[in-house]
């Protein structure tokens, strides 16, 4: 868990789109048995079908996580920072129905901390990804359309930012600022800008050659108008797909920061922080690490599955235009 996946989008775009996504996630036993007789798992139809199941499972999981995170205050949960008196610390999963996930090392409700942790992680990831998306997209569109010196200069700066190891950059920013949510968001945003800028620039370069841009120019549209009213709306679908992939990377990155102690300050829960705290009792109570870790892995995978599915659908749709 100590490795940060850099939110560097092009690499995930290069990834073979035919690669069956979500290992095992979309493979229900019935389907395997049923289709196995007629088709091998590698044929297009079987793979597409498995993939569709994977996408649905991913969407379901994300709905569950986002739903509970949003409705955390309405759920019958103990406060995340209060010790549950009726249970000893590190009580196992499934011991009691009102605390299905047991308690952590201090005796606090795991279920509550998991849900509030999800809220924290999602909030940070969404805000940071939106900020990075907005800044990166504007940079990408302007440099991609204007070209020339501005493009070269900004390109060098972004490459320098990308060349920096993501975790080092994150830790540097996080250790300069105060230890709070804002600092984490700023750090992640900086990290995300180059990815968005690259994708937006690449798409803008292609779109600027299209005749509708020529049409707009021949109608007397200003450069500003062409960039943000003609080109930008065309970027929205691909940016949405990038956004999901970046969200996945940011959730991991936030977890990593919390794990190394630079994330949100305790007692506020976050998944990375929970894994960090559970480390001390790995031998006696491994569920303290595994519960948040599984949630984190599933969420990240789900974002990636949905994001890649969306990206492929868009690529396929491009041809028809």
């Amino acid at each position: 868990m100590s490795r940060v996946l850099p939110p560097e989008v092009p690499s995930s775009e290069i990834e073979d789109p035919s690669d069956p996504v979500g290992p095992d996630e979309g493979r229900s036993p019935i389907e395997e048995g049923g289709l196995g007789l007629l088709t091998t798992g590698t044929t297009g139809a079987g793979r597409r079908r498995r993939r569709r199941v994977a996408v649905w499972l991913a969407v379901g999981w994300l709905a569950l996580v986002i739903g509970t995170a949003l409705l955390a205050d309405l759920l019958p949960l103990e406060p995340y920072d209060r010790i549950v008196r009726s249970l000893p610390p590190r009580s196992p999963i499934g011991l009691r129905l009102d605390e299905p996930l047991g308690t952590d090392g201090f005796g606090r409700s795991m279920a509550s901390r998991l849900v509030y942790g999800a809220r924290q992680s999602l909030l940070i990831a969404v805000v940071a990804a939106s900020l990075a998306g907005a800044i990166g997209t504007v940079i990408g569109v302007v440099t991609g359309y204007m070209r020339g010196k501005v493009d070269e200069t900004v390109g060098v700066l972004l490459d320098a930012l990308l060349a920096f190891p993501a975790l080092v950059l994150l830790m540097a920013i996080a250790s300069i600022g105060r230890r709070d949510v804002t600092t984490v968001i700023v750090a992640l945003s900086v990290l995300g800008v180059p990815g968005f800028a690259r994708v937006a620039r690449a798409r803008t370069l292609a779109l600027a050659e299209r005749e509708f841009v020529m049409t707009a120019r021949s109608m007397g549209a200003t450069t500003w108008r062409i960039m943000f009213r003609e080109i930008l709306p065309n970027l929205m679908p691909v940016l949405l797909s990038v956004m999901l992939l970046v969200l996945a990377a940011f959730i991991v990155a936030e977890g990593t920061l919390s794990f190394v102690g630079l994330g949100v300050p305790p007692p506020q829960p976050s998944w990375g922080g929970m894994i960090n705290e559970g480390r001390q009792s790995l031998r006696v109570a491994p569920q303290l690490i595994f519960t948040p870790a599984v949630c984190l892995v599933l969420t990240v995978m789900s974002f990636r599955v949905v994001g890649e599915w969306l990206g492929d659908r868009l690529d396929a749709g491009e041809g028809g235009r």
Binding site: G148, F212, M214, T215, A216, M219, G220, E230, P233
Partner: protein, 353 residues
Amino acid sequence: MSGGNGSTDPAAALLDVRGLSVRFPTPRGLVHAVDDVSFTLETGETLGIVGESGSGKSVLARSIMRLTPSTAMTSGSVTFLGRDLGALAPRAARSVWGRDVAMVFQNPMTSLNPVMTIGRQLAEPLRLHLRSSKREARSRSVELLRSVGVPEPERRLDAYPQELSGGMRQRVSIAMAIACSPQLLLADEPTTALDVTIQRQILDLLSDLQRETHMAMVLITHDLGVVAGRARRVMVMYGGRVVETGPTESIFEDQRHPYTACLLAAVPRIEAPSHTRLAVIPGRPVDVVDPSPGCRFASRCPRAQPQCRHEDPPLRPVPERPEHSYACFFPVGSAEDRLALERHAVGDQARGG
């Protein structure tokens, strides 16, 4: 309405292009896309520009609109209603484009923005140039769509381009171009990407619109049949240069440049017996990277002489018709031409035998 090349007073003309050259630096060398082209156009007149791919006709239209890439080196002047378009500040130029001069592009599949509704795209020039309100723009858009023959215009306003057929999309781009009643329409191969049956409809539409609004039009095409009966004058381009220009009938009936003759001969005839061989022009379109002096068509010309390869033939008028000019040392039908053809044939035999 004297038209012709250089014979009119430039001040009276709607559009006056003088010595326009466009060059692109490329890794292979300097591409002379448009080489010293001049023509004038009067109010309500149609000029057909004909040439094969790479003859520079599209670049010519785009450089009139200043739509060429920033690397292009342009010289010469483009005067529209007495104003030098090339010297206009960007702001002033934008108020001319779309309002006084508009352009229709070749491919209706890509010339409309795929993520904007037809209504919004039509409203854009109206709101920009005429400062129309949203409601005015909408009702005017409906009128425009109706005038270009789009059925159910109210419903089409909320459609996206990909919901329409190619012909309908081209009608929409024409509607956009004529939204502000321009005085000049540049149509860059407006029918090339369309089915033959639709081509005719679109061309008729353009002619009708022109008759109603009295706008001038530059009709760019590689198809001589498109120009016949629609353009009053024709300009034939090859390798970035004008090789022949004149009234349409004069060009069709009595062309002087061998390239024009070859082009006309290459048009398949419906009345010809079946299995007649299609006439082709041997060789490939000329490469205009760092060209050496001489006629651009010389390498493919059936009557090329040493002189053609070393000397640029000037544009000169046909003796009895000053409007019709050509750039050839051995024009079709002349005594020199017959001599040249004979010499060529002898040369071929000598080489072959």
